[in-house]
């Protein structure tokens, strides 16, 4: 009786905490945008035009919309991959390297001729995914076998991958006729087609959406996901409950790596006709930010990734149409991350709200008992 009354009129402390967590994210976004606008005022020679570009730029032409969607696709892969890593409690930063490894490994397969279309892409995807799995799996194995800190080993492995990849491209599959440091042309049979003819948006979008959906179902609906999240929340508890902790950690790193590697594959085979990267692509780092924004839940990755893709497209527009440097976008990104990672941000307000709420529910309870 008291309980049901309480639930109707007063929130539980947990509900308040959840609301504050959403508020924290929303406020961080607003603050970041506010600061960006302020910066534009300071440096721009046509502030109103440039603020318009920042806010609405990506929507001004269909070309820009497809650009934005193409920027969105790889983020869906790396965001989901990092959600998996973080959910099992591993700060694995190798999604960056896995993405790159996926790109150059699938390149090697994609230049082989004589494989039928469809099958060719599947082979490329397998090669890219497996390369990614190895890259992210190694830090996981090193952690479970030798207790090497994942954050250190995974960070380092990115550079190993980068230079290994550049070696492979420049020494094994470099096309001297390309005119720049790039691989031979991908065979048409390996490339991803356009999703809607004339739109420039490639079919990798379908794979990306599938990955997000499956990632969400795996994490939140399956027994394997329960193991992942339990280990991430309290590994000692998971072990004592009988969960195979080391196995789950390693498998999750392999799976996340596969997804990131598949992302790299989709990216090069969807957008380009040769491998032309000369450095890391930042998609893995972006994945980390997205996982933080999405609180490790793939369900929120599409929204978070869309936001980032939108900002990046705005940056391109600004770059083309104004004197505002596109680095403004990096500032926005940094501010958002700092605010969301700051657990104590708004903590005082949250605490006061909970105290007031509790006082209210105490008064209410007394009212009921007095009647």
């Amino acid at each position: 009786m008291i309980n049901s009354l309480k639930r109707k009129q007063v929130l539980t402390s947990q509900e308040i905490s959840n609301r504050f967590s959403i508020l924290r994210t929303a406020l961080a976004l607003l603050l970041a945008m506010g600061i960006a606008i302020l910066l534009i005022f300071l440096v721009s020679n046509n502030a109103f035009r440039d603020i318009r570009s920042l806010l609405l730029g990506p929507l001004t032409s269909s070309n820009r919309i497809s650009q934005m969607i193409n920027k969105w696709i790889p983020l869906l892969f790396t965001g989901t991959a990092v959600c998996l890593f973080f959910s099992v409690g591993q700060i694995n930063l190798a999604a960056e390297g896995a993405f790159f490894a996926g790109a150059f490994t699938s390149t090697v397969v994609a230049i082989i001729g004589g494989i039928p279309p469809g099958l060719h892409f599947i082979l490329c995807a397998l090669a890219g995914g497996l390369a990614g799995a190895i890259i992210c799996g190694l830090p996981g194995i090193m952690y479970t076998k030798f207790n090497v800190m994942t954050v250190v080993s995974s960070l380092m492995i990115n550079y190993v991958v980068l230079f290994l990849g550049l070696y492979v491209i420049t020494n094994l599959v470099r096309d001297p006729a390309a005119g720049y440091e790039a691989s031979y042309r991908f065979k048409e049979s390996a490339r991803l087609g356009e999703l809607i003819p004339g739109s420039n948006i490639h079919t990798g979008l379908i794979i990306a959406v599938l990955v997000v959906v499956l990632g969400y179902l795996l994490l939140y609906k399956s027994t394997f996901g329960l193991q992942i999240r339990t280990i991430g929340a309290n590994a000692a508890f998971a072990k004592y409950s009988g969960m195979p902790v080391a196995k789950v950690i390693v498998f999750t790193q392999l799976l996340g790596g596969f997804i990131a590697g598949l992302g790299g594959t989709t990216e090069v085979l969807g957008l380009y006709n040769r491998f032309g990267y000369s450095g890391l692509t930042n998609h893995g780092w972006d994945g980390i930010m997205l996982a933080v924004l999405a609180r490790n839940n793939p369900k929120y990755i599409p929204l978070a990734a869309l936001f980032l893709a939108y900002l990046r497209t705005s940056a391109d527009v600004l770059n083309l149409t104004s004197n505002v440097p596109s680095e403004v976008i990096n500032i926005i990104q940094a501010i958002i991350i700092s605010f969301i990672a700051a657990e104590r941000f708004l903590a005082g307000w949250e605490y006061k709200t909970i105290v007031r709420n509790t006082e209210k529910s105490m008064a209410l309870k007394e009212g009921v008992t007095n009647e």
């Binding site: 308040i16 329960l226 508890f237 004592y240």
Partner: protein, 525 residues
């Protein structure tokens, strides 16, 4: 019960203190509490009643939402422990705040180190330690490493530490929780000595007998509120327990004679050396039979933790055999041990027993999610898990906002009920049960104990019960073994014939039974 009367000798008053924690838990609600100079004042209440919080407010560790602290007639603001010490208020925490690898003297002067030039003057630290120990008649070996001294000595060091820092009002948070009966009576003598020298002591406890014996006055808290303050002489133990719990408590659990069956758990010649090279278990052998509760007594650190962790698969022994229903478990994973129909309750509830950030449902299914009904083809069966958790919440009377509430929103007693609900609901044949009621309220403890007896009688569950609470061991166990220095030094097949004093002697290693008597615990010859 007398109203609070402000007498001349009132040295400290806390007025209308309200403290609400960030999870919305109201730990103290309009508490008014005062102590007189030169008294030992018992602060009583069940776990979760708000005793520790109130003392933390006084010691500057928690900031209250509301209320005043009046010291010697003047309002003071205490924002941190250094402040509190300046006002002459010192606190000894439930868990020792000592650096184990340093010596007694180094711990004593930590933060106030005597210097010789720029360097730490260790000799003077030792000298000052010896001086203060002598002044208060609390002898201690100043140059011993803290890890090597007994629990009673650590307690003494903690008290000396705050005396060294000039405390006149001593707040002791459940100081006897880790002591043997003998160490406890020694501590009481020392505390009475301090009182006679004019020191004021607030003694937090939920043990009726101790408070009756030691304190001059008591204040009882219940659910964050003051129930009353009274002279100890005016109250019987039953009065106090009624004030604490709010109803008459039955201190005895209804329990019939055990009817032990065949051996379920068999342990032979078990040896384990810990990471410091200390022999934690030395040739341990015993049997636990179906339908029997075997208690394991011992002062903390005499091998109980190691034994329970070996039996649950967390540690591997150096040598020896352990088998459950005839199958060796030495090379088994924890999952495989659990699959022999064994339940495991670790003494550390918040690390091994529960996952704070996850829901009650996820905590309940953590050991069974892979079984049919809880999941089908690796997909969690949400409906079944929700319903089953709801039923368990009902059965174990878990106070919560529903099955999806996070564990972090529950009180200690309710968290332990969640642990018990999980481990007891799988119809286990064997339970390795460590500290099942440590630090939880009487109501929750009573429920858990009833469930234990019911499992024993209904299913013939064999229970190996590790507990630091001797009263619990004596009421719940059918037989008791005592561990001292990693060895079984006594086996009592009939618990009725012994009491806490007798257990205490064996726990301290003052006495040891003959090998024949100890061998009585081996039923499978």
């Amino acid at each position: 019960m007398e109203a609070l009367n402000y007498r001349d000798d009132t040295v400290l008053t806390m007025k209308d203190i309200t403290k609400i924690y960030s999870n919305g838990f109201v730990a103290n609600k309009d508490i008014t509490f005062s102590v007189r100079k030169g008294e030992i004042h018992g602060l009583m209440g069940e776990n979760g009643a708000g005793k520790t919080t109130l003392m933390k407010v006084l010691f500057g560790l928690e900031k209250p939402e509301k209320g005043q602290i009046i010291l010697n007639g003047q309002e003071v603001h205490i924002d941190n422990p250094l402040h509190a010490l300046e006002y002459g208020i010192g606190m000894v925490h439930q868990h020792f705040m000592l650096v184990g690898s340093l010596t007694v003297a180094e711990n004593m002067v930590l933060g106030l180190e005597p210097k010789k030039g720029l360097l730490f003057d260790y000799k003077r630290a030792v000298k000052e330690t010896e001086e203060i120990a002598e002044r208060f008649n609390l002898p201690i070996d100043a140059s011993a490493i803290v890890n090597d001294i007994s629990v009673g000595m650590k307690q003494r060091l903690e008290i000396l530490k705050i005396l060294y820092r000039g405390a006149k009002i001593l707040l002791l948070d459940e100081p006897t929780a880790v002591l043997t009966p003998q160490e406890t009576s020694e501590l009481f003598v020392q505390l009475k000595n301090l009182r006679d020298q004019g020191y004021t002591i607030v003694f937090i406890s939920h043990k009726l007998g101790e408070v009756k014996e030691l304190c001059d006055r008591i204040t009882v808290l219940r659910k964050g509120e003051v129930v009353g303050t009274a002279d100890v002489d005016e109250l019987t133990e039953l009065d106090i327990s009624r004030m604490m719990v709010g109803k008459d408590v039955d201190l005895n659990i209804a329990k019939k004679e055990a009817d032990p069956g065949e051996t379920i758990l068999r342990v032979r010649d078990l040896n384990y050396t810990n990471q410091f090279g200390k022999k934690a278990l030395n040739n341990l052998s015993f049997d636990l039979r179906r339908g029997e509760i075997l208690g394991v007594a011992g002062v903390e650190g005499n091998g109980q933790t190691e034994l329970s962790e070996i039996l649950s698969g967390l540690l591997r022994p150096d040598s020896g055999e352990v088998s459950i229903k005839g199958k060796s478990i030495i090379d088994m994973s924890i999952r495989d041990i659990r699959l022999t129909n064994t339940s495991l309750v670790h003494e550390d509830r918040m690390i091994y027993g529960a996952s704070e950030e996850q829901s009650i449902i996820e905590n309940i299914i953590a050991d069974r999610y892979f079984q049919k009904g809880y999941s089908n083809n690796s997909i969690l069966n949400k409906k079944n898990n929700y319903e089953e958790t709801t039923a368990l919440i009902e059965e174990y009377q878990i106070a919560c906002d529903g099955p999806e509430a996070a564990i972090s929103t529950l009180s200690g007693g309710n968290i332990q009920k969640v642990v018990a609900a999980r481990e007891f609901s799988s119809d286990p044949e064997l339970i390795i049960l460590s500290q099942p009621t440590r630090g939880i309220d009487v109501g929750a403890a009573e429920l858990i104990r009833e469930k234990m007896v019911s499992l024993r009688d209904r299913l013939g569950t064999a229970i190996l019960l590790f507990s630091a609470d001797l009263t619990e061991l004596l009421t719940m166990s059918d037989g008791i073994i005592v561990l001292y220095n990693g060895e079984i030094v006594a086996y009592f097949p009939e618990v009725k014939k012994i009491n806490e004093e007798i257990l205490g002697k064996y726990m301290l290693g003052l006495e040891k039974q003959s090998p024949e008597e100890i061998g009585g615990v081996i039923h499978d010859k």
